[in-house]
């Protein structure tokens, strides 16, 4: 791999900085924040308009939520049904317990096919398992075909959104990347011209490269079919022209019946891109003689998913259909963009999915990257209660940390242990209040506000002011007030 700049975003949760640290480069980059906010505003407005015109939106959400919950609660049965049907239709089903296994299975298939080149439909799951760098290191040339993915691949950038991965890059930056990497000197920054450049760049590759990799939006247990949802037609190219097709899918992507798509397609298109329907949906079942790839492989990826399934509150994370409505509605994501999350899954869903996929060994700062405002839950088409899962994960992180001996003198945990002592004993609390009032008076300005505190208190005053101590505590006021003077109250008391 090429040398990357020091502030190049790291999307591997094992190596990524904590959220507050990783967010800083973005917060200090006005261009990036402008790009993100613009894109988010456009999608949000389109989504809101099309959801409003759907009179049965809440009924669709309820059905979508129930179908997805049912599918993952009965995941074993539906995966086996999918495997049987897909195999009967001429597909080959592989099971990968983790990322390394999935990468190896895919490489083995490519080696069997003597494939030196491969074309790819956008798949966040392949980014999750870091497939591209692995294949490149193994000598396979990988060509992304989604416009956003081409921008990222040629610009050596990282995805910052799961539906519009290059939304942080504006037209003049795209122009710079394309003209440099495609050798087009006179390219304009008109999106039409940039799109045309991508079409020309890819056309020959579509027509000649005989191996393709895709993700899956849905696996249909009833038929063994696979559904891919897209806009550009690059997906249809990859699904139709090559000789061999490899689909990488998380095990949670399964739907019980073909008919369930009548709900999922309606909620997905509106939630993801604010369209009544995205330009293309493709559904195929195994191998069809004379039409499309004649070798078809599905790689079913666990990589931490089955362990999420075992936890009753967190299980709902797996209902996700990757529409990105949660990140589009998130006030935190709007400010930081996707890279701060240190994962290919950013935003609220990333904040709950990433640490769980890491089995809580990494990305522990993500559950705290939220104001718990609940906007994500409100827009989620499958009703994942993201704030509920965030709180559950926060408590797990805190329980991990407070048992950690290295954190014994961590000011926050030390402070909380002391507070625990004080609040349990009135005389201690009163003495602490007395001393505290004296101590804090040095930091209280004439206006009665504290504008800056040292040490751990600074975490609060960095971005907010704090009210100074009042002249009297509540207890003091209560004791000093004398008997009740309100006649209504004293009457009630008798």
């Amino acid at each position: 791999m090429t040398q990357v700049a020091a502030n190049h975003p790291v999307l591997d949760p094992v190596f990524a900085a904590t959220f507050p640290k990783a967010a800083l480069p973005v917060l200090r980059n006005p261009q990036l924040r402008k790009n993100v906010a613009h894109a988010i505003d456009v999608i949000q407005a389109k989504r809101a308009k099309l959801v409003a015109e759907k009179t049965d939106w809440q009924e669709l959400r309820s059905a979508a939520s129930a179908i997805r919950a049912h599918a993952i609660e009965n995941l074993g049965a539906y995966l086996e049904e999918f495997e049987i049907r897909c195999t009967a239709a001429g597909g080959i089903v592989h099971w990968a317990a983790d990322a390394a296994q999935a990468r190896q299975i895919i490489l083995d298939i490519l080696r069997q096919e003597n494939a030196n080149d491969v074309i790819k439909i956008k798949t966040m799951t392949s980014a999750e398992i870091q497939l591209n760098p692995f294949l490149l290191a193994a000598g396979v040339n990988v060509f992304e075909t989604d416009l956003a993915e081409i921008i990222l691949q040629l610009g050596e950038e990282e995805p910052s959104h799961i539906v519009v991965p290059a939304l942080h890059i504006n037209r003049s930056q795209v122009r710079e990347i394309f003209s440099r990497r495609m050798g087009l000197k006179d390219l304009s920054d008109d999106p039409q011209a940039l799109t045309a450049a991508a079409r020309t760049y890819l056309r020959q590759k579509f027509l000649t490269i005989p191996t393709a990799i895709s993700g899956a939006n849905f696996l249909i247990a009833e038929t063994g079919g696979v559904a891919v949802v897209e806009s550009e037609g690059n997906g249809r190219m990859c699904l139709t022209l090559p000789r061999t097709m490899i689909t990488l899918a998380g095990i949670e992507k399964v739907l019980p019946r073909f008919k369930d798509l009548e709900v999922m397609l309606q909620v997905l298109a509106r939630s993801a891109t604010g369209e009544r329907m995205n330009p293309y949906n493709s559904l195929w079942t195994g191998v069809t003689p004379g039409d499309g790839p004649q070798n078809f492989h599905v790689v079913l990826l666990d990589n931490g998913r089955s362990s999420i399934l075992s936890k009753p509150t967190e299980r709902q994370t797996l209902k996700c259909i990757r529409c990105a409505a949660c990140m589009n509605s998130c006030p935190v994501y709007r400010q930081t963009g996707g890279h701060a999350y240190g994962s290919v899954y950013p935003g609220p869903i990333g904040a709950i999915l990433t640490p769980q996929l890491m089995q809580m060994h990494h990305a522990q700062s993500l559950p705290f990257a939220s104001s718990l405002c609940g906007a994500c839950y409100e827009v989620c088409p499958v009703k994942i209660n993201i704030p509920e899962v965030l709180l559950e994960l926060r408590s797990q992180v805190v329980n991990q940390e407070r048992k950690d001996l290295a954190r014994f003198f961590d000011p926050m945990y030390l402070g909380l242990r002391i507070a625990n002592l004080l609040f349990a004993r009135a005389w201690l609390l009163h003495s602490a209040q007395f001393l505290g009032r004296i101590g804090i008076s040095f930091f209280t300005r004439k206006d009665g506000w504290i504008h800056s505190l040292p040490s751990v208190g600074g975490k609060w005053t960095q971005t907010r002011d704090l009210r100074g101590f009042p002249k009297q505590t509540f207890h003091e006021w209560w004791a000093a007030r004398g008997p009740a003077t309100d006649p209504a109250l004293s009457k009630e008391a008798t």
Binding site: A97, Q104, L147, V164, A198, R199, E232, I251, E262
Partner: protein, 224 residues
């Protein structure tokens, strides 16, 4: 790269065992699973309420909203309507699926019938003419099941100009009504809603990326 590589052969059992342990409390057998599935709430709108006229009008409006060009035709005038569309396209080389009626193929054009045409041959075509399985008015969607008159998937993909013949009787109002029309799940299906498009650069909608840039629909008034 923290993962531990294990033998893929054992992974299937390992994953399924994990899932089984995690979901012990739910349906234990096929009848239980089927009744749990049947009990899922489906209170959303399944059937439309529009009159036939209004349904077709909505289909046309939604198709146009997504930059498809629509003209109407009677069944009798269809060959002439197709001929007029072809003439207006300025294109000469066409591919067609084998199941298309011969009277639709107007004289004076290079018609290449897809009896296993190669990709290179299809790539040379400037346009394609097909039928469809269904139209969904609510979203302006055309559904192909790739029958002999709808063509292989590649046929409606490579040419830049697609003329689709849709009969009014094939148009339903809501997406669930399309699913009701499927006697059984299709082996292959493609839904098309307007020409291929992207909004990846600054959310500006650009039509015509890799799929056809121009989608034309002739709506045949066969039931009204």
């Amino acid at each position: 790269m923290s993962a531990i590589i294990s033998a893929p052969g054992q992974s299937r059992q390992r994953i399924l065992d994990h899932i089984r342990v995690a979901t012990r409390s739910v349906a234990q057998n096929a009848p239980q699973l089927a009744s749990a599935y049947a009990a899922l709430p489906r209170t959303y709108i399944r059937r439309g309420t529009l009159s036939a006229q209004a349904r077709i009008a909505l289909m046309i409006e939604r198709l146009r909203e997504y930059d498809a060009e629509v003209v109407e035709s009677t069944p009798a005038a269809l060959p002439a309507t197709i001929a007029a569309k072809l003439a207006a396209s300025g294109k000469h080389i066409f591919v067609v699926p084998p199941g298309l009626p011969a009277e639709w193929l107007a004289k004076g054009y290079d018609w290449n019938v897809d009896n296993n045409l190669t990709t290179a041959e299809i790539e040379l075509a400037e346009g394609v003419v097909t039928t469809a399985f269904c139209g969904v008015a609510d979203s302006g969607t055309i559904v192909l099941h790739h029958s002999p008159a709808e063509g292989r998937r590649v046929l409606t993909l490579l040419p830049d100009w697609h003329l689709c013949i849709l009969r009014a009787s094939q148009v339903v109002e809501t997406l669930p009504e399309y699913f009701d029309r499927c006697q059984q799940p299709p082996i292959l299906a493609t839904t098309i809603s307007g020409p291929s498009a992207t909004a990846d650069i600054e959310m500006t909608r650009i039509k015509g990326v890799h799929g056809p840039q121009f989608l034309h629909v002739i709506l045949v008034r066969d039931e009204i």
